[in-house]
Amino acid sequence: MAKRLLPHLLLGFSAFLVLLPFAYQVSLSLTPPEALFGSPWPFHHPLTLENYRVVLEKLPVGRYTLNTFLFALGSALGQILLGLLAAYALVFRPPPWTGLFLGLFVLSMLVPFVVTYLPSYLLVARLGLLNTLPGLILPMLTAGYAAFLLRQHFLGFPREILEAAVVDGAGTRDLLFRILVPANLPTLLALFITLFIGAWNQFVWPLLVANRPDMYVLTVAVQRFAGGEGANAWGPLMAASVLATLPTLVLFLAFHRTILQTLMEGGVRG
């Protein structure tokens, strides 16, 4: 009995430790200023929504959320579309040198971003796309992960189905959007959410490219707030950070089964 409980105890305690910072985050966002440094434990204080009122009054949270949403949506959809086309070609219509092309997609995941950011920044600046949505999104559209993950899934897809459809007169668009997409919907959904959350949480690239206040994404806005009005105002700052985190957390909670399963199958990088 004790032996069966031990894993539960250890895992439960680890989960508690891992989630503790979130407890502080939420607790602080509900703390009145005078109670900030009372108890070292979360939720040992009177609760207030005042901090949220302050943040919503001082920051155009709606605008930042819209920027972030469009940036994340464009990045995720773009990567999926490019990855889908590439994976389709790699598996079902391999051109000459398929191995080389696959290698280019895989290796692209492994180039450190600090190597590519300066040249990418200069390129985006030269195109006149600083502080624009396309400038934010275009460099995110390196679809190595999407292409690789979808290729792994397509490899196990029965070719005969596609061949039969071609005999029946189906074109490439039908093969992709009437057969492959519906058949791989859970994977595509999990991939979309993973990429969406990934882009939502991007910090360094938006910090460099979108530095005009009306183009801030949430991560940048929260950081600017932390460095300015929100400095030492832990309540409002954490309220802002909760607002920035909530959408991704809700997405994860709603789809965690599919996401975890797909990540475990992909196995390279999240």
């Binding site: 680890s14 910072p21 979130f22 502080y24 391999p94 959350i197 950070s241």
Partner: protein
């Protein structure tokens, strides 16, 4: 695939690859080459012309003690990642295998949760936890009668304090790939892993460990290869590399050289050295992955 399409179908396939490849060329491979070119030049991002200086940027780096301090600290970040993003997640994954559904899935979701939050935002919470004197950590340590240094401004503690945040943030992801790796092993291996105590130990050493070795190596390499990347944002938010560069690493140093000090050439040279160093780890990882997929 098309009946009798042969070569024509193949070339058609290239059309579908082209858009994805275009973006890779524009935002990965061209930057990689441009970076190499830049590393041989001196440029402040503002002057119209970059001046060719040969290998001077590399020489300046290799002769600079601050660079070697950064290298040393990068290795410390990696060592701490081996602990926090390899050993700990592996232990948690092994524990999870002993737990039945639905608890197994519950622990997975809970432990994975920090991965979903933005690291830049999460690091702010840790700033509060680490606050000297008034913060919860200092109070708890004080309550236990332990000294509570101001972690982030102390040259000895800043790096481990930042590394803890990075390890915490990405623990869930490494836990998940550890779990996936273990689950991909043959069933008998996993059942044998439950054998305990005296009879288990020789078995562990001579049968289990050799079977597990490729998976373990893969997990270790992926923790090491990502360690500097993971620490990047926590460094930027919490210490900006300080105090006196004691919590910086190679990746953050490249960024600072380029975007704070505008020494594009030096940044590029450092980025080249970094890429070569990480390349070894990453190629090892790919090799193992390829072998696993084939086996």
């Amino acid at each position: 695939m098309r009946a009798g399409a042969g070569r024509r179908g193949n070339l058609g396939g290239f059309l579908f690859l082209a858009p994805g490849l275009l973006f890779l060329l524009l935002f990965v491979y061209w930057p990689l080459l441009y970076n190499l070119w830049l590393s041989l030049h001196e440029w402040n991002l503002v002057r119209p012309e970059a001046a060719f200086v040969g290998l001077a940027n590399y020489q300046a780096l290799l002769e600079n003690p601050a660079f070697w301090q950064t290298v040393r600290q990068s290795l410390i970040y990696m060592a701490l990642a081996a602990l926090g993003n390899f050993l700990v997640p592996l232990g948690l994954a092994l524990l999870t295998l002993q737990v039945k559904s639905p608890w197994s899935e519950r622990y997975q979701a809970l432990l994975f949760a920090p991965t979903v939050a933005a690291v830049s935002v999460a690091a702010l919470v840790w700033l509060y936890i680490y606050l000297p004197a008034a913060g919860p950590l200092a109070k708890v340590l004080g309550g236990l009668g332990l000294p509570a240094p101001s972690l982030l401004s102390d040259p000895d503690y800043a790096l481990p304090a930042v590394a803890l945040v990075a390890n915490w943030k990405f623990l869930g992801f490494h836990y998940l790939i550890a779990l996936a790796g273990l689950k991909a092993l043959p069933r008998e291996v996993l059942e044998a892993a439950r054998v305990d105590g005296a009879e288990g130990l020789p078995f562990l050493r001579h049968v289990l460990l050799p079977l597990l070795f490729p998976t373990l190596l893969f997990l270790l390499l992926s923790a090491l290869a990502n360690a500097l990347d993971y620490a990047f944002v926590p460094i930027d938010v919490m210490t900006q590399g300080g105090p006196f560069g004691h919590s910086t690493n190679l990746m953050y140093a490249v960024y600072q050289e380029a975007f704070r000090f505008f020494r594009a050439g030096v940044a590029a040279a450092q980025a080249v050295l970094l890429t070569l160093g990480l390349g070894v780890l990453i190629l090892g990882q790919l090799f193992l992955l390829e072998r696993r997929n084939r086996g």
